[in-house]
Amino acid sequence: MDADALVHDYLGRLEVAAWSLAVDRRADLVGEVREHIATALAEAGRRDESTVRNILERLGSPEEIVAAEGEPDAVASALTATPTIGSNTDRAPWGAVEIVALLLLTVGAVLLPFVGPLLGLVFVWLSAQWTQQQKVVATAIVLTLLVLPVLLLFSVGTAAGVHTG
């Protein structure tokens, strides 16, 4: 491969590697690197194959250059993403769905026995704020509290039945 073909090939690879960049930025980057090569060749005063290879080697691989383009965004998004992954504290826990769910589970249990808390659970599961684990725990507690009195009543009833019988 002669010197010009090497440069052409390199810029082609850069163009391909940079496909994910914005069109403006890609054109800018390829133009800058092309100019860099031209300047380096002019300074070297020679255009033989080994000179070109040396210049391209110093530039680094096209993939490496494009990777540097993406770095700050990757870092920035990692930095902004980190707090939202682990903490629900940053998110407001009280949306309309959550408030309705809590009202149904508390006041609703008094005003609409059985139906209120069950509806409340539906809203609990509709919540986008609460985690799966929180929903499972809430459901377990509510169902236990609903079923327990029934079981107690039933056992008292049978005990009473045994006693009278």
């Binding site: 690197v33 100019e35 002019a42 110093r58 096209p62 250059i65 494009v66 540097a68 383009e69």
Partner: protein, 125 residues
């Protein structure tokens, strides 16, 4: 060997370079406005600061986007016009802040490395 210990992308020098290079470019520009090829030359001449010269272009674009540098096109004696980079007020402030941070960072690492080597000597005796 280094790659085997730290993984392909975990060379500590690469990570360090990545972290400080932006400010090294700002430091070069604090002296005088300059064009990319010249900045590369200074950084390469200063030691192992820039291993892949092409990565200077994404870095300069970033500095431009963050308004830490401004650019102007100038005619050159030889070849096409060149884009000259000049540090802004915000760039100087960022560089000053980094200067303080870096001094503290360097001292802390030096102190720990010094302690470690002394501890190592003591343990060896």
């Amino acid at each position: 060997m280094r790659g085997m210990v730290h993984g392909e992308t975990r060379d500590p020098l690469t990570e360090l370079r990545r972290g400080v290079l932006e400010h090294c470019v700002l430091a070069v520009l604090r002296r005088d406005e300059s064009y990319a090829f010249d900045i590369v030359r200074v950084l390469s001449g200063a030691g192992e600061l820039l291993t892949s010269e092409g990565t200077i272009y994404p870095l300069l674009a970033r500095l431009r986007r963050d308004r830490l540098v401004t650019t102007t096109w100038r005619e050159s004696d030889a070849g096409p016009p060149r884009r000259y980079y000049r540090i802004t007020g915000a760039g100087r402030r960022a560089l000053d802040a980094f200067g303080g941070d870096w001094a503290r960072f360097r001292d802390a690492v030096d102190a720990l490395l010094g302690e470690a080597s002394q501890g190592g000597d003591a343990g060896g005796r």
